[in-house]
Amino acid sequence: MSEAVAHHDDLHDHKPTGIGRWLFSTNHKDIGTMYLVFALIMFFVGGAMAMIIRAELFQPGLQYVDPLFFNSMTTMHALIMIFGAVMPAGVGLANWLIPMMIGAPDMALPRMNNMSFWILPFAFAMLLSTLFMSGGAPNGGWTMYPPLVTQLNDAFPFLIFTVHFLGISSIMGAINIIATVFNMRAPGMSFMKLPLFVWTWIITAFLLIASLPVLAGAVTMLLTDKYFGTSFFDAAGGGDPVMFQHIFWFFGHPEVYILILPAFGIVSQIIPTFARKPLFGYESMVYATASIAFLSFFVWAHHMFTVGMPLAGELFFMYATMSIAVPTGVKIFNWVATMWKGSMTFETPMLFAIAFVMLFSIGGFTGLMMAITPVDFQYHDTYFIVAHFHYVLVPGAVFALFAAIYYWLPKWTGHMYDEKLGKLHFWLSVISVNVLFFPQHFIGLAGMPRRIPDYNMQFAEWNMISSLGGFVFGLSQLLFVWVVIKCIRGGEKASDQVWEGAHGLEWTLSSPPPFHSFTTPPRVTDAVAHS
């Protein structure tokens, strides 16, 4: 921090110490750190729930938990991992990196930044408190389909208001990111010079602003259906339970890309660095990301092919969904072409990025299979789907987040992380995640529905193997925490450039960077712009 003082002599630059530094922080780095720490805590809370799920599914028969509690675990695991772990981790990275990447001193709206973070601990305290309520925590699935969700007891209003708070927090975060990138770029930093991580976050921010109010509307209608006598989703009162699913997935599908687009951005930063070669097809990456985001508003009903839509509807959503494979394919090909004829080294961030490209692709391929409506009638709501979305979210989004932490941690802390332990974390994770999720393809195709606590013997072997993979994957993440703590406490001094092949403004700052990133705007030349 002493460096920061030397950089900056603004009288308003008050820096509270102790707990006040965090409670009242308006600094993009401190807030980014809080987001990341919060996401890590939630990753372990949601992970503990996953461990309960996998323990119960280790063998047929009910050994540990009541089915209702099992349903609470699947519901809460999803809500916590999506809204508490992956999304906040993405926002944390955006906070840390966007000002440093565009040559700005901080985010455009620092007080709102503070508020959008501090809503989260309260929202999740509210959600987690439902575990101790009469009737238990939400257990109707994270998709909250009525009429089932309205059978929930005391936890119901807590669920609805948690969703509202999370939505408000995310929208504020999105507004801040858009305001920052549109107004605070350094001279010469034109849009087409922005690093891809910044690009993917602008697009993600627009997706957040467009989709979260829709979710807020849907859950508000649930609330009035339960407590105020309306019948939006109650057929007996002239409503339509399927309408909720349409509204929910109009939010839900863009949400999927909210989780994955920042991951695309991260990988597009890391692969060129370790291939020592510019990103292949920068423009097409930007356009592909934008088209994926645009298309995401026209494919929602592929999550609900089995509700009984008219043929024309099923055909439209099948074709629209298949078309997403084109821009997604472009991105994969671009990453592979970036590696082609590079001069590659395989430090931990690169290992995670390569695993991302391969394993995300596997999730993408099963996604394409599900787009084929007549076959989706078989796949729908089975473990095949569970395998698909975990492939895109765990070795997809989560691996990209790991890659990002390993990649930028030396910049943030000024120390190199322990490369040996990092690589151990990678190999443990990449092997166990496949042992965990690959067998789920088999049990799904063989006919095991999702969200069930018990099953017939025919599914026993692969469930046991999957659970074993799950336990190893869960434990391996403790190693990650140790690597991060060790790196924060000390280690080999990191240079400003950190990585031999790194390009971009953040690498021109000191490691660790000053409190206010760029107090005088840097001059952006092609040499320091995106690689």
Binding site: A236, P278, I332, M339, I362, P374
Partner: protein, 380 residues
Amino acid sequence: MLFIKLRNILCACLALTVLTFPGPVLAEYGLNLTQGVTPISREVYDLHMTILWVVTVIAILVFAVMFWSIFHHRKSKGAVAAQFHHSTGAEIAWTIIPILILVAMAVPATQVLIKMEETEDTEMTIKITGYQWKWHYDYMNEGFDFFSALDETSNTIRQLKSGLNPDEHENYLLEVDNPVVVPVNTRIRLLTTAADVIHAWWVPDLGWKRDAIPGFINDNWTYIEEPGTYRGQCAELCGRDHGFMPIVLKAVSKEEYADWADEMKLAAAAAADESGKTFTMEESMAKGEDVYKTQCAACHQANGEGLPGAFPALKGGAIATGDLPGHLDIVINGKAGTAMAAFGGQLNDAELAAVITYERNAWGNDTGDLVQPADIKAAR
């Protein structure tokens, strides 16, 4: 030396793992989608295999290029990075070729989908209604209907910490008390709907699943070619016992089906007669216990103690020991906004009378109330 030792340990571990899996069970698990027993299910399977091969080949090609690069273009091998960053030709190719593959895939998919959605010209209709947590089958052309719930053996084994081994029941969780029976080589219309929350009716061998949604009726059809017993499960999360409402579909010859249907009609007539009868306390308690086990025990538990917070206790509870009209009302009409269903539409007068008698006298409730079918008729 060390490597040889490690290799031996690894081999031993693998052999042990394989050996410890029970042999016969190992052979049973499936890895792939079933081909099923209808013309549509086979077409669905073919589509599945086609798209699986398409993505497998693409995956092998893309990953091969990537790994070639990883092995050959590495700094440790002295590779010097090229500095190209686009190639219009390649980019056009990898946009156009995927589009062509997708169009080629969309054509057969569209054809199969159109066939699946043609629900006309069926020879018989069964209306399937999902309940928490059982299925109701209404043979609309025959005039009989029945409920189908998890079989008692599975239900005993699946209780939390039952200590019983699911391995001893071959069709654990995939067996029901009353299977749905259909004739082979008949175009059957299957309507799906639900009485409480959304369920989904799924028998993988038919090649599709369809949601059962309260207030909506979805229509589907099937044409089973091979006699046999086909098993499935509810596929849409529907509450606590979502995992415990299987489907067993028996496809039999047309003659066998006709015999079975005649029996069912006779049984329906006998049940209707019961509603005029007067029961003794013993008869009522015995019948009531049976009804309670299949209809009520899933929530209120066999011991009547319920689950605190989720499902209220009947043992010593305010309803079961309170005034009789209140008890009749909640059983017949249900309670809005909770999982308590309106059983008036599900059970006949004799069954309702018996189960209410049972609830008012079992577990030490001992109110002494004996409810007769006539009381139910009056209360409806």
